[in-house]
């Protein structure tokens, strides 16, 4: 208890000892000197008179001032409880600092040759500006939004102003101020450290921001006083003078919602809320309906909640009326139908639980395989469990060894399928159905993996490029006429490595390397992002052509995002090498886990995936081509153009993958 009370009193004294606070004794002293000087020199008041003016009992012991003191005592206790529960500046600054890494994809140090004092100066000024404008905006909102004004009004019910009136604040408002400060400082810290690194320092005088020190030492405390100091018309457009802030506290109607600024007046000027101090202006402080009740503790602490709630009810009523006017009822109906459907679906899936079970390890995203699984479960009653992971499943399967629960492995790209056979994780499958449905060049020579769908690596060409000029072969991508006009994801991605492997097969190692080098030299920017990002880059004019897998185009074309649809509309697809070996295709596929305890069911599932019914789904779900020749192209895929494919045995791509990687490394793609 002693510790708490000692902490309480030391916190109470802290503002007078901390140069970051306006009530710091040094600033109070400076304000006193200025107040006396103004009266002695400008008003030619006698010294005794000046002192009695400044320390007038009428002001310092008024009902209003006494309420200020009580508020300070109560708030201090409340904030000791609330303060530590608010989000910390450190947490927000760290979050901002980290998020910037994602937004800017990494971090580049700016002005690295700049001396540290320049950076510190920049930081100090920025902190000041950010602080000042955010205070202006928050202050403006406190006045303009009824729900907030209910709390800020407590400050404005003061009828006499002393420097201590600065703490006549409702606790809710104190929380708002704290949060503002947390976010602004966090933004400055996180942002500056991200861009300028550890050279960032705050320029301080006796531990306070140098600019705020200047503001405070120049009599900031006189804003809350009865000493009127005006800076003159010109300066009052830049700095808020004590007289201008006193106008802000005026009860007169014409002074309402004026001069929100703290240090700078420019925000008020820009925001149309600036009022210049007039000569010899007599101001009555307070609000319109000044009542002695305004200074009771009950009224100060509780009335704002009542007022705020009533403004909230008012707001709800407005929203309600607005909703009615836009006929919200169909929206409600839609949600009702949606909830109903989900419930029924859930009910069906629970009812359909069956005897058989199959465990799938999948690199394919759940939304891509769920339609197949639903169809299979409906047909057979087999319950399917999926373990999905973007990477690491082969390592997991290897570590699990004979104890692995996996029955089926599903993945994309020949390189990843090859990983499984290389680690001896797949079982040989003897199935006439699979042999019939999957062409020989699209399955493992030892029948451990099978392709289920094909995807073509195509060229997305900007519609800005005349059709006559568009590339028709992969080889054209290396043509110097496309210098600075090609976009691609990194060469080491399996899709590009497979393409390089196909080029090695077609052209030989040396010419393939020259080609890769040509493509790399033609890149408009550092290889980055996925295939979707390349279409975006073409649409935004970063480049004219991009290498992508065909289905990305379909995904964008039918995306729910209008922006994505726009990107797709900006490009057309070219299926390369149609006059020669055909377009390079890669596959999605899978196999049966070597230690599956359920190989018959697993085989049945693979056979299902190559069946005509499932094969049609590949086009529907993800715009991929069927491997089963009996399955016709979907209307959508057919509309993009029929193409001939490079019929190179797909396993060959894996065999030269290492060579392809070396080429990619050498050219730096």
């Amino acid at each position: 208890m002693d510790a708490i009370s000692s902490a309480y009193f030391s916190e109470l004294a802290a503002p007078f000892l901390n140069p970051n606070k306006r009530l710091f004794w040094g600033y109070l002293g400076a304000s006193l000197i200025i107040a006396l000087s103004v009266q002695l020199i400008l008003s030619r008041t006698g010294i005794m008179r000046a002192i009695s003016n400044v320390f007038s009992r009428r002001i310092w012991f008024s009902l209003s001032a006494r309420a200020d003191y009580k508020i300070i005592l109560i708030n201090q206790a409340l904030m000791m409880g609330i303060g530590p529960r608010l989000i910390s500046k450190l947490a927000v600054a760290t979050l901002i600092f980290e998020s910037l890494h994602i937004w800017f994809d990494g971090r580049t140090i700016f002005l690295s040759s700049c001396p540290p004092w320049v950076i510190s100066g920049l930081f100090t000024v920025s902190v000041f500006f950010l602080d000042d404008i955010s205070k202006y905006l928050v202050h403006r909102a406190l006045h303009r939004w009824p729900i907030l004004w209910a709390f800020h009004k407590v400050h404005h019910t003061a009828e006499t102003l002393t420097p201590l009136t600065i703490y006549r604040t409702h606790p809710v408002e104190a929380v708002v101020f704290s949060l503002r400060s947390v976010f602004v400082q966090a933004l400055a810290i996180g942002g500056f450290l991200f861009f300028f690194g550890s050279r960032v320092e705050l320029m301080t005088v006796i531990g306070a921001n140098i600019i705020l020190f200047a503001f405070n030492i120049l009599g900031s405390n006189l804003r809350h006083s009865h000493v009127r100091i005006s800076y003159g018309r010109l300066l009052e457009h830049i700095f808020i003078s004590p007289a201008q802030h006193q106008i802000h506290h005026s009860a007169a109607h014409e002074h309402h919602d004026k001069n929100f600024g703290v240090v700078l007046a420019i925000w008020d000027w820009l925001g149309g809320t600036l009022t210049i101090a007039e000569k010899e202006q007599v101001i009555r402080y307070g609000v319109k309906n000044s009542r002695s009740k305004n200074h009771t503790i009950k009224s100060i602490y509780l009335q704002p909640f009542v007022d705020s709630a009533s403004s909230l009810i008012d707001l709800y009523m407005r929203i309600f009326l607005l909703m009615r006017s836009i006929k919200y009822i169909p929206v409600f109906r839609f949600f009702a139908v949606l909830v109903g459907t989900v419930t029924v679906t859930l009910g069906i899936s629970i009812r359909d639980s069956s005897s058989g079970e199959l465990n799938i390890y999948s690199h394919r995203q759940p939304f891509l395989i769920n339609p197949f699984i639903e169809a299979y479960t409906n047909d057979t009653g087999t319950k399917i469990n999926i373990i999905y992971a973007k990477k690491g499943l082969a390592q997991r399967l290897k570590a699990e060894g004979p104890l692995s629960p996996a029955d089926v492995v599903l993945t994309v790209d020949i390189a990843r399928l090859y990983t499984y056979v290389d680690k001896d994780l797949l079982a040989e499958v003897n199935s006439k159905i699979l042999y019939d449905n999957v062409p020989e060049h699209l399955r493992d020579p030892q029948n451990r993996w099978f392709a289920f769908s094909k995807r073509a690596r195509v060229i997305a060409v900007s519609r800005r490029v005349p059709k006559l000029l568009e590339p028709s072969r992969y080889e054209d991508l290396a043509d110097a006429k496309w210098r600075g006009k090609v976009c691609s994801r990194p060469g080491s991605h399996v899709y590009n490595r497979a393409l390089v492997a196909s080029m090695i097969n077609a052209l030989g190692q040396q010419r393939a390397e020259a080609w890769a080098e040509g493509v790399f030299n033609n890149l408009a920017r550092r290889p980055q992002g996925n295939d979707r990002a390349q279409v975006k880059a073409v649409a935004e004019g970063v480049c004219d052509i991009a290498i992508i897998n065909n289905y990305y185009y379909g995904k964008l074309k039918y995306s729910k995002e209008p922006e994505h649809r726009r990107w797709a509309s900006e490009v057309r697809l070219v299926f390369p090498n149609q006059d020669g070996r055909g377009a390079h295709v890669n596959i999605s596929g899978g196999g049966i886990a070597k230690y599956s305890k359920n190989k018959i069911e697993a085989q049945r599932f693979l056979e299902f995936l190559t069946s005509e019914r499932a094969q049609e789904l590949y086009a529907k779900v993800n715009y991929e081509y069927p491997v089963n020749r009996r399955v016709p192209l979907s209307q959508e895929l057919a509309s993009w153009g029929n193409f001939s494919e490079d019929r190179l045995p797909i396993a060959r791509l894996a065999e030269v993958a290492s060579e392809a990687q070396r080429i990619i490394d050498r050219v730096g793609w």
């Binding site: 980290e98 800017f104 990494g106 580049t108 400060s181 060469g491 080491s492 290492s658 730096g668």
Partner: protein
């Protein structure tokens, strides 16, 4: 009569103990301790012995040196030589490091001068290494790296991003030294029935089971016997053989405790684990923030050894053993923190290198130097992060997170990253995550080290400046109203 004999024996042994300790100055030196084995008939006057561990430190230092000798093409002779320092117990192996350097004269020139018939492979962590593909054991991983290092130019693979001298060295510091000390000698061998104190360690040995177990653990820490008479900075400078000293001869003076003008590797040299502990305490990598790993660990070793010696060749009582295990816990937890501090520090270095690399790439400058630093620091990060996982506890989720964030290889500037090793031992790469995301992984690794191991030195803290700056800006104007 019997009582008199007991009193006499006790008086003699007390004299011996204090004499043994006193001989090396007020008991602050891990020096000669008396022979307490009952019925010992040999000529040794000291029971202290950890030369086998020092020999392994020397094998490790030499192997590190050899790892950087590759010419860029397959070099079978180099591989064989490296393996002779790692896996064989060949006689006649010269010490490749540490060797005499300027005034820092090293007493021994051959590994056999320290201890014969030792290797590292037999003492490498036997569990599987989850942080690398294909579930290799510690030994398999080192041998895989040795094969790669012998083919890589100066031991560095710039395409995949591996610096083998760093990987091998940092990993061995954990998989051999840390693992043997904390998981074997300071854990299993402290059991009541394992290597008891009332029997010699092995037949005819001048030391008891517990004495020698304890000495071996101390040997693996690799600190000079007179560490408590030195500052952490002195111990750090000894490892640097004068290159970080004001005057090169300073390091020799710190090391040469018996003033014979040469550094005896057996008792006077600083090796890997102690070097890092000393480095953090001395603030050699930034601030130490009050860490005291080196002296805490050494003091616990010394106190433990005195305790064993005081049992005078009798079986340790339960209370003595529990006190000894208390010292062992101090050693294990501080040693673990040193490895976590190193992981923290190198995550910071990797992060800084990435920012530098990106700045240079965007300015279209020459990245070769920055890239080589990046690969080097990543090797140290990976090595230490794997070392950290070779203690007696399974780190569980912490290890999983750490391994996923560090990855099997560094994210290269062309955004590729090793994702696998195929059956022919070739690295398989794929497009990794984004550059920014990988940078953030480094920040998260640092946070993980703070959360899980309470590291204090926190050198090269990525978001360390945030806390400093936040403090400087002070609390917001919480209730100030205008």
């Amino acid at each position: 009569m019997y009582r008199n004999n007991v009193l006499l024996a006790s008086a003699i042994s007390l004299t011996l103990i204090s004499g043994g300790a006193m001989a090396d100055g007020h008991g602050d030196v891990y020096g000669k301790f008396p022979v307490t084995v009952k019925g010992y008939s040999g000529s040794k006057t000291s029971s202290t012995s950890y030369t086998g561990q020092i020999a392994r430190h020397v094998l490790h230092d030499s192997l590190k040196k050899l790892s950087g000798k590759g010419s860029g093409t397959a070099d079978h002779a180099l591989k064989t030589k490296m393996l002779s320092y790692y896996a064989t117990k060949d006689k006649g192996r010269a010490i490749i490091a540490p060797k005499t350097k300027g005034p820092f004269a090293v007493k021994q020139v051959a590994v056999d001068d320290i201890s014969g018939g030792k290797n590292l492979a037999g003492k490498t962590y036997k569990g599987t290494i989850a942080g690398m593909p294909n579930g290799m054991t510690g030994q398999e991983l080192v041998e895989f790296w040795i094969g790669k290092a012998s083919r890589a130019k100066k031991g560095v693979d710039t395409a995949n991003g591996y610096n083998y001298p760093q990987l091998i060295s940092k990993f061995i510091m954990g998989a051999v030294s840390y693992n043997q000390a904390v998981d074997n000698y300071l854990d299993e061998k402290l059991g009541a029935d394992k290597k008891p104190n009332d029997k010699p360690y092995k037949k005819g040995a001048p030391y008891t089971g517990k004495e020698h177990s304890w000495d071996e653990a101390f040997g693996y820490f690799g600190t000079p016997a007179h560490t408590l008479k030195l500052t952490p900075r002195n111990v750090y400078e000894i490892a640097k053989q004068g290159s970080k000293s004001k005057k090169p001869e300073d390091a020799l003076n710190y090391a040469d405790y018996n003033k014979d003008g040469v550094v005896d590797l057996k008792t006077e040299m600083t090796f890997g684990p102690a070097y890092y502990a000393a480095g953090f305490d001395a603030g050699s990598y930034g601030k130490s923030n009050g860490t005291n790993y080196l002296h805490t660990i050494t003091r616990a070793f010394l106190d433990g050894r005195k305790l064993i010696s005081s049992a005078n060749g009798k079986k340790l009582t339960d209370s003595q053993r529990s006190q000894l295990m208390g010292y062992a816990r101090i050693i294990s937890s501080n040693w673990e923190k040193v490895l976590a501090e190193a992981t923290f520090k190198y995550a910071g270095s990797v992060y800084n290198d990435m920012a530098k690399l990106q700045t240079i790439i965007e300015a279209k400058g020459d990245t070769s130097k920055a890239l080589s630093n990046y690969i080097k620091h990543w090797g140290e990060l990976k090595g230490f992060s794997l070392a950290l996982q070779t203690g007696k506890e399974n780190l569980g989720e912490t290890a999983t997170k750490l391994n996923r964030m560090v990855g099997f290889g560094p994210l290269m500037p062309n955004l590729s990253q090793v994702v696998d090793i195929d059956s022919n031992g070739n690295y398989v790469r794929d497009q990794g995550g984004s550059w920014g995301e990988y940078m953030l992984h480094m920040a998260k690794i640092q946070k993980l080290m703070v959360d899980e191991f309470s590291v204090k030195a926190q050198n090269k803290a990525i978001s360390g400046d945030i806390a400093d700056l936040a403090k400087k800006l002070g609390a917001g104007n919480s209730a100030e109203n205008d």
